[in-house]
């Protein structure tokens, strides 16, 4: 038996167990439902507003774009935040104390968050299908595009979350940063309003990050083709979406192991104890 393979398999089941735990822990489930519910409320509010220059519901567009936002929320923020938390509570050190434990730990996280993203996307879509009109979810092409955008999106965001998570010294310091990051990016990524209405500088900035392309990819999958008219270049730009998300994925996958290894090397019983003491003292 190859030890790394055994650890990889253990990691997959670890992710599945953790995903089931998320769904059976009332607090976690409520957090997911509240986030989704909040977005849905905002969309319902704008249901009868039209996307400028069209007769298409802004709420529906937003619903689809939020699917892209979801990937970033779970892939970067929740992943990064959990990494900070689990470094603090000693989970990471436990992983380090068992053979190939870090491999299993990380694979577990990938599976767990992929599950959570799929879950969030599914409930958003289910609710959306009942509450909104104009979704184009009939054809197999829609689902195929949705699938590759999701997978590539996870590959682009999860390593990024792990890298950012390893950089924050504590959960306390991480909280405001996540909020700022997420809010700022969402504002310039065309999630709530078409990006073409922003100043050019912000348009370019937004297009440098994966969130815009995730939103665009989702819209291309689930909105009628005519809606491409309001996008940059009047096109869904599949090739560019694939290119940018792949670039983020590759750089994340290259960078993450280096940063994670550096972080793990510094972990020891006394560093965890010191951090906990600092946290309880409220410094």
């Amino acid at each position: 038996m190859n030890p790394a393979l055994v650890a990889a398999r253990a990691g997959l089941s670890r992710g599945w167990i953790e995903f089931k735990q998320t769904l059976t822990t009332p607090g976690d489930l409520v957090a997911i439902l509240i986030t989704t519910g909040g977005f849905l409320a905002a969309m319902i509010w704008t249901r009868h507003t039209h996307v400028p220059g069209t007769h298409f519901s802004l709420g529906t567009t937003m619903l689809i774009s939020v699917l892209g936002l979801n990937v970033v929320v779970y892939g970067v923020v929740t992943m990064g935040d959990l990494l900070v938390a689990e470094r603090e509570d000693g989970t990471l050190l436990r992983a380090k104390a068992i053979p190939n434990g870090m491999l299993g730990y990380l694979l577990g996280k990938v599976v767990n968050f992929s599950g959570q993203v799929a879950f969030a996307v599914a409930i958003t879509l289910c609710a959306g299908a009942f509450l909104f009109t104009g979704l184009s979810i009939g054809g197999p092409g829609s689902w195929l595009t949705l699938a590759w955008v999701l997978v590539l999106g996870l590959l682009a965001t999860l390593p990024l979350g792990a890298v950012l998570g390893s950089l924050f010294p504590s959960q306390r310091s991480a909280g405001p940063c996540w909020l700022l990051l997420l809010g700022g990016l969402a504002a310039i990524s065309g999630i709530f309003y078409p990006i073409t209405h922003l100043p050019t500088v912000l348009q370019w900035t937004g297009q440098a990050f994966p969130m815009y392309w995730l939103g665009l990819g989702m819209r291309s999958a689930l909105l009628p083709n005519a809606m491409a008219a309001v996008e940059v270049g009047h096109s869904w730009r599949h090739l560019a979406t694939f290119g940018v998300l792949s670039a983020w994925a590759v750089s994340g996958l290259v960078l993450a192991p280096v940063v994670l290894r550096r972080m793990a090397r510094r972990e020891s019983g006394s560093t965890v104890a010191a951090r906990r003491e600092k946290a309880t003292r409220g410094v």
Partner: protein
């Protein structure tokens, strides 16, 4: 026999502070070593260097025949670490967690050591059978600690590190834990290095005690040897005709014999108390903190 642990002139310096100034000791297979010392003496630093969790400044360290810095995963599989208790894996069920963590050890099974430990047997061993289906967050402090011990030994380690394992245990849990340690050392031939503040525990568990003060080992020997080397005197108490007497004797047996020869049946309430580990520990630490540290080596015959 090959030494499981061999530490020579280990040094650790943080900035300008020397935490360890030349620590040397060794441990044979199946030996239980207790590392004692006041807070800040360098116990945790020493144990973390041996666990491979911390780089050392200087010195030679061999743990299971390898340098812990370059230990690798196969080496890791032969060690067990019982960390201080945290809040990790709170949502996991006890049995689920142990079964999961055990899986990583399976490829490192050898004809002589089957890894991992059978999960139900392990749960039974640490006394968590009634709680096997509980979520970790719902365990009491003592139960949580038993789980920590179980996690540390799930891979049937050849060398086990225990950092203050019984902090927060009630007397019963402590007794159970001591049974587990005895079983590991005797039946599984596990080498164990533990740190503790509980001298009674060190005396009960350890074959050998190392006392670390100011980054140096000032004493190395069995509890008995340390006690004897520090103070050859015993305290003899008795009463005669309703009057109580106390006497410090070098040879308590000869003193008592003489006592009975002289006073016969009128000697009552005889008590002989040999200076224990606690007396020796206090004397050694005081001496080391005030005078120049010198190493006391009580060599086993």
């Amino acid at each position: 026999m090959e030494d499981v642990l061999d530490v020579r002139d280990l040094r650790m310096r943080y900035g300008k502070t020397d935490v360890l100034n030349g620590v040397s000791f060794a441990a044979r297979r199946g030996e239980v070593l207790a590392l004692l010392g006041p807070n800040g003496a360098g116990k945790t630093t020493t144990i973390e260097i041996l666990e491979g969790f911390r780089m050392r400044s200087a010195g030679e360290v061999s743990v299971l025949g390898a340098d812990p810095v370059h230990g690798g995963e196969a080496w890791r599989a032969r060690t067990g670490v019982v960390l201080q208790s945290w809040r990790d894996h709170a949502k996991w069920q006890v049995r689920e967690l142990l079964a999961h963590l055990g899986r990583y050890y399976a490829p490192y099974s050898t004809p002589s050591v089957t890894r991992p430990w059978d999960v139900d047997d392990l749960i039974e061993t640490v006394g968590l059978t009634p709680h096997a289906r509980k979520r970790v967050r719902n365990l009491s402090g003592g139960q949580r600690r038993r789980l920590d011990v179980a996690i540390g030994i799930v891979g049937r380690p050849e060398l086990l590190f225990l950092d203050e394992p019984t902090a927060g245990f009630d007397p019963e849990a402590r007794r159970d834990f001591h049974d587990v340690v005895h079983r590991l050392a005797d039946r599984e031939q596990t080498t164990i290095l533990l740190t503790t503040h509980d001298l009674d525990e060190a005396e009960r568990l350890a074959d050998r005690i190392l006392i670390l003060v100011g980054g140096t080992i000032i004493a190395d020997g069995s509890a008995d040897e340390l006690a004897r080397a520090m103070s050859g005197q015993s305290e003899v108490r008795w009463s005669r005709d309703g009057q109580r007497f106390v006497h410090a004797a070098d040879d308590a047996t000869a003193f008592a014999r003489d006592l009975f020869r002289r006073y016969g049946a009128s000697v009552e309430d005889l008590e002989v108390r040999r200076a224990g580990l606690e007396d020796a520990y206090m004397a050694l630490v005081r001496q080391a903190e005030h005078g120049a540290p010198r190493r006391l080596r009580a060599v086993a015959a």
